[in-house]
């Protein structure tokens, strides 16, 4: 029964969160973003106390329910495992020793790296964020292609329910990372169940530690147990030592598979006042420890080296952003480094396809973090979706009024590239798209008008840069700024103009 409940809850939450990531048409209400806010790492970074207390209480009561049902990466591994069973009828698990040193080393290195601004690592390992990236970069293109196929079929029959969407790769580096994550964790799950959760995942390690003290636990009634060992063979966390009748609660993810397989009803999910089984942490592997330290130190050193190098290509007329533009609500790139785990929900939800994962634009520590890129569109002046959905507080929520005055970057104009200057013909595409008229058209030669910029009221939406038709180098672009500003936009008076005649 418990197992069935677990499966129903997991599959439902998994389906909903995956669909929420994929849904580009907005058929799922925005409220579903709470599914991302109840994830451990985002809640931790957002200092979302309610969620953290709730998750802690849940774990102290029932153990790693988060890992079994709420974490989409956990459910993904269960799905792979189920598939594996189809192909290997005699698939069996067996008890293995806990990798305590490795687990805590990963937690330690991740934490230190994070404190030193190398957020990449926590983003890479956080199971929710890793799953988000897999959904956005691997599943979503397929979802979009499927939509386009349905569109072509339905439109043939005169039905306009579907519309075409562009299918493209947002970022090669993030696609590669997502694919490697998908395949690595999938492979581990295929061969041996929840290995990722119990050796690498920092969330798993910490929750595992907490769940050793949880009230309800799976317990073996030694009076009933006939030591058949079937529970151990069924355990995808490999945490039941059937010989000694002990369960490693730091690794048990509460799947309840063992409860169902026990013919003697010796396995119970109960709370007798029994001392938690202490896991001995002897057998420390010195070489492993040294290796982990070396990895950590090298990683840290590398961040410092890379963070300082900036990629500036200087061709005379080429517009090249030297500072990446961080999304609305992020306040600064530093804030992103403090908060963002690169789940890419904002990347997926941006209706204008403006948010793109960075490569090294924010330094090595900020690989995969979101930045604005104006190749496919520009940031809609009247849109706050990215900051509405962000679960980790990396993009702080904005009201429409706040969004209208937030400066994310500043417009730069290169006269030598401008069509009006080079060709002597009208253009004005940049000013046309400017919501604040930070780019306005002023008189030029021969009755022409030419762009004039006022960086003081520029919000950095990129409308001008996106639309500028100058080739091969744009005449106008947005340069990033170290931290976002508030611009002052004067309210214009509405004049009462009367038109009484036709004028011709």
């Amino acid at each position: 029964m418990l197992r069935k409940i677990r499966i129903v809850v997991s599959v439902t939450l998994f389906a909903l969160i995956t669909l929420y990531f994929l849904d580009f048409a907005g058929f799922m209400p925005q409220g579903f973003h709470s599914l991302t806010k109840i994830q451990v790492i985002p809640a931790l970074l957002a200092l979302n106390i309610d969620v953290l207390v709730g998750l802690l209480a849940l774990t102290l009561l029932f153990g790693r329910v988060y890992c079994s049902s709420i974490c989409p990466m956990g459910v993904y591994q269960d799905i792979v495992n189920r598939l594996a069973k189809r192909f290997q009828k005699k698939k069996r698990f067996k008890f293995s020793k806990a990798q305590t040193v490795l687990r805590w080393s990963v937690v330690g290195v991740t934490l230190i790296a994070f404190l030193f601004g190398f957020t990449f690592l926590i983003g890479l390992l956080d199971p929710y964020s890793a799953f988000g990236r897999i959904t956005v970069h691997v599943l979503k293109p397929a979802y979009l292609a499927g939509n386009n196929l349905l569109e072509s079929i339905f439109t043939q029959f005169g039905n306009n329910t579907f519309y075409k969407v562009g299918v493209y790769v947002a970022s090669i580096s993030s696609l590669v990372i997502a694919l490697v994550t998908l395949l690595t964790i999938g492979y581990l799950a295929w061969i041996n169940g929840r290995i990722y959760c119990n050796t690498i995942c920092p969330v798993g390690t910490v929750l595992g530690f907490v769940s050793r003290y949880s009230l309800f636990k799976i317990r073996i009634d030694e009076n009933l147990c006939n030591s058949c060992g079937s529970c151990g063979r069924k355990c995808k966390a490999s945490c039941i030592d059937t010989k000694s009748h002990e369960i490693d609660y730091s690794r048990c993810i509460n799947c309840f598979d063992c409860l169902e397989v026990c013919s003697q009803k010796a396995m119970k999910f109960s709370y007798p006042a029994q001392k938690p089984v202490q896991q001995n942490a002897n057998g420390i592997d010195e070489s492993k420890r040294r290796f982990m330290m070396a990895v950590g130190v090298t990683g840290l050193a590398a961040t410092q080296v890379f963070a300082d190098s900036k990629l500036i290509k200087t061709s005379k007329n080429q517009a090249k952003r030297t500072i990446a533009i961080s999304p609305p609500g992020s306040t600064s790139a530093d804030h992103l480094l403090d908060k963002c785990t690169s789940c890419h929900l904002c990347v997926s939800k941006c209706p204008s396809n403006v948010i793109k994962p960075a490569f090294t634009e924010y330094g090595l520590g900020g690989i995969m973090q979101p930045m604005l890129s104006f190749e496919k569109g520009f940031c809609n002046y009247d849109c706050t979706i990215c900051s509405d959905v962000c679960p980790s507080g990396a993009l702080l929520p904005l009201t429409m009024e706040q969004k209208h005055v937030i400066q994310m970057g500043q417009v730069q104009f290169i006269l030598e590239n401008c069509i009006v200057h080079t060709d002597g013909t009208s253009c004005g595409a940049c000013s046309e798209h400017c919501p604040t008229q930070a780019v306005s058209m002023i008189p030029y030669k021969n009755g022409l008008t030419i762009p004039h910029i006022n960086t003081k009221i520029c919000v950095g939406c990129g409308g001008c840069e996106y639309i500028c038709p100058a080739m091969p180098y744009k005449a106008i672009y947005v340069e990033g700024i170290a931290s976002h500003n508030i611009v002052e936009i004067k309210k214009e008076k509405v004049e009462d103009v009367k038109v009484d005649d036709f004028g011709f």
Partner: protein
């Protein structure tokens, strides 16, 4: 036929259905599905002032000889408003939704088989369609609102009479229609000076960047040499955007001018609308370069005085 062959045939048929008409096919066939010459109306241009959009259009189209003169029974019609911006109707960034709905209803009354509405928007198309109020109004009036945000909706058409623009990718809805009605809103424009009927053609093409980089004013005139010209131009000047166009910043850019113009002569109607605009803000005709360029391409006349014009004040 056994089951295997049946399934094969089914699959083949399905696959064939998904094959799209190629550009070359369009070029070869475009002469055959071009609109038949529209009937001459009593007036060359009708200008209406002082009423609400729907009432002004009703009066105006009646003077033009009624919608049935332009839309015949069984026609596939496109009504092409300006839906370029994510703006509410009060900000005059887009065509008035009530006017669009009224035109659609009159087309249907005249016997149109289907009325299609679209625009190649500047802002995110879903937000434009929704917040302009046009999608809801058009659907309620019985039209089909189709997207225009992907290149695959467009087909290449050659423009032999164009000077700078020799070919353009035009939205398939226009190419597949029997007639189309051009319904711009009257706006100031930072680059083209004015955005009226001719400028509204930039919403039926895919590659607008080419216009801007190859003499914008000439390209605006060139696109109007499209063989399938709009059967009617209806300029919405109920609210006009006097400054900061075509996007506008706030209500301060908008003037409630309560005007409406209808004509088949695209140069004449844009000339008339520019003169109307000139009363609010100085806008000499020669500054709006595409007017003279279009006249030079024999697309119409800027000499309104020589035309049969009906002016109505409500």
């Amino acid at each position: 036929m056994d089951r295997r062959n049946f399934l094969k045939a089914l699959a083949l048929t399905g696959a064939t259905l998904t094959i799209k008409q190629s550009g070359a096919m369009t070029l070869m066939t475009q002469h055959f599905n071009a609109a038949p010459a529209p009937a001459a109306s009593a007036y060359d241009l009708v200008a209406v002032m002082g009423g609400e959009p729907v009432a002004m259009f009703r009066k105006g189209i009646a003077e033009m000889g009624g919608m049935a003169k332009f839309v015949k029974k069984g026609y596939k019609v496109v009504v092409k408003p300006n839906i370029g911006w994510d703006k509410k109707p009060e900000l005059a960034g887009n065509t008035n939704p009530d006017l669009v709905a009224e035109i659609i209803q009159q087309c249907i009354k005249a016997g149109a088989k289907e009325v299609v509405v679209f625009d190649h928007t500047c802002d995110d198309w879903r937000k434009c369609y929704a917040n302009s109020g046009i999608e809801a109004a058009a659907k309620a009036a019985g039209a089909k609102v189709v997207p225009a945000h992907e290149e695959s909706y467009y087909r290449t058409v050659s423009l032999p009479k164009g000077k700078s623009l020799k070919s353009a990718k035009i939205h398939e809805a226009i190419l597949d229609s029997d007639v189309w009605i051009n319904v711009p809103v009257l706006k100031n424009h930072g680059g083209a000076k004015m955005s009226i009927s001719m400028k509204n053609h930039m919403g039926i093409v895919w590659d607008r960047g080419f216009f801007h980089s190859h003499d914008l004013q000439q390209c605006i005139a060139d696109i109007c040499t499209l063989e399938k010209a709009a059967v009617l131009n209806v300029v919405d000047a109920y609210r006009l955007m006097k400054t900061n166009g075509p996007r506008g910043k706030s209500e301060a850019d908008v003037v409630l001018s309560k005007g409406l113009f209808i004509s088949q002569n695209i140069v004449a109607i844009d000339t008339a609308a520019t003169s109307f605009f000139n009363q609010v803000r100085d806008m000499p005709l020669e500054s709006v370069g595409h007017l003279a360029k279009a006249q030079a391409l024999n697309l119409g006349t800027m000499d309104i005085d020589k035309l049969n014009v009906k002016k109505i004040k409500m």
